[in-house]
Subunit: 298 residues, 2 copies
């Protein structure tokens, strides 16, 4: 069996029509498969515009069961194309209980299970604590296409703890479906610094854990739907990338480009890296109990 896996991330801008977004995701997954992809990662909540810009109870209607209608569509597509697909969905668990969830479908194993976003943001235009209960499944590993794959979601990417737990569970690839961008009025003042921090933290998970990292973002401008005294919105910054276990970026999309970002990842690069700098050997688990505290002021 080959040590190399062809992995693809899909970057596109989301329309206001879920049917259009679904068709676009299917079309681009087909393109990736045609090029030889074995694993395809779709961006966060790609079926809809990023509705968390405002708090609107009407948006709960966008949620669905996982597994459910959309996962079934991709399960069939996965079987047809022979690719595994990472799918980010707005999960309805019951009335009044929703999650930001990702599932994996495999051409042979079908629906493999799901991960529920653990770290939930809440800041202007990213009001996710209103919509999503924090995930209660911990970090999940999906064994697909000969790869141990962890899926974490967007805000999770700022927490080295989540990536480390994934690595301790054996992850070789960590995939981050993401919806991140600049607020309309912040791009000029904060744009470069925000993007730089985002790229740095995800590359650092690759460095610290010697895993591959796939960061899949959407692109395009989405205006805030409610009337505001000043019009606002998010310019999603695209720049979907795949990084190797040394943290170097292997492949990256531009800010605006739509399409497939692919890399042939060589899994043996993981032990090669770990044999050079064996970090896992030297962790001080005897003092890491402090990490289970919110703050060490007491």
């Amino acid at each position: 069996m080959s040590d190399t896996v062809h992995i693809s991330a899909i970057q596109f801008s989301c329309s206001t029509d879920p049917a259009v977004n679904l068709a676009r995701a299917i079309e681009l997954t087909r393109s990736a498969a045609k090029e030889g992809a074995k694993i395809v990662c779709l961006p966060e909540l790609f079926l809809t515009r990023y509705f968390c810009q405002t708090e609107d109870p009407g948006n709960y209607a966008l949620a669905e069961a996982v597994p459910g209608p959309t996962s079934k569509i991709f399960e069939a597509l996965s079987a047809e194309l022979g690719v595994s697909i990472v799918l980010s969905l707005f999960e309805k668990r019951t009335e009044g209980l929703y999650h930001n969830t990702a599932c994996v479908v495999d051409p042979i194993k079908g629906y493999m299970g799901k991960y529920r976003k653990m770290h939930i943001p809440d800041d202007p235009l990213f009001m996710e604590k209103y919509y999503f209960a924090p995930g209660d499944l911990g970090v999940q590993i999906f064994e697909t296409q000969g790869v141990k794959l962890a899926v974490l979601i967007c805000w999770d990417q700022w927490f080295p703890e989540a990536a480390r737990i994934a690595a301790l569970k054996g992850a070789q690839v960590i995939c981050y479906p993401t919806a991140i961008g600049w607020q309309l009025y912040e791009k000029e003042s904060h744009g470069a610094a925000q993007y730089g921090a985002w790229e740095t933290i995800q590359r650092s998970h690759a460095v610290a854990n010697n895993c591959f990292v796939v960061a899949v973002n959407r692109t395009g401008f989405e205006p805030t739907s409610e009337a505001h005294s000043h019009p606002n919105g998010i310019q999603f910054w695209g720049q979907t990338f795949i990084a190797g276990p040394d943290g170097a970026i292997i492949k990256q999309a531009s800010e605006t480009e739509e399409g497939v970002v692919s890399a042939h990842i060589r899994l043996k690069a993981i032990p090669e890296q770990r044999h050079g700098w064996p970090f896992l050997r030297d962790r001080r688990t005897d003092v890491y109990g402090d990490l289970t505290k919110t703050y060490l002021d007491d």
Copy 2:
């Protein structure tokens, strides 16, 4: 009281004569103080060549008590110049028990205490497990010059856990005295990737924790002292840098430059950054117990 603190890192190449290195460290600390520095950080084990390239019991003679003769010299210098100094020393605790230790001296408070390197590397030319017992003091915070300063040491920098614990203890600045470089035969093949990983991981601690990070490395080439079939040695890669709480590099030295790397750091940048992206609010301490395990295979 000003919100801005002038902090300096000292980069130089170490000679085979400890007296020369001591004089150089004092001279460069004086230069930094003359320019207005309030905190000066010296590189790892600057009194000597990096003796851990080989395992030689004769090197234990280089160790000293902390506090001890060298810390007393810098305590006096600190009082004279009005600067606080981060000092990396080879600590003798008793016969057969040595640590890689850093202490802080303050112009008013004098000797403030020490930190013992917790994560100990051991790979070819960096055979530290032979010399240093793992630190038993946990992460230490030193309140000096109006700054909460954590000192971690070199290999510690690859572990996001250590930086996080420092931040949870209130660190505003994390200083990493370091001795890292390329093996003679690896620079061409691995040099850029190794340096890139090093810079990325430290900038990521600034991003994840919204702290300032000071990475202080030595420069120069040091041959392996023992006879080998092939001559070897370490080209220390310098590039000492200071990063802000968004992970951006504020100031950086070149690979070979010797001297003082300074920045006026604005402590209010920490809450500004944390109010934009409040990561500490959203940590999932309920699942981080997994971090106290060596590996999650059972």
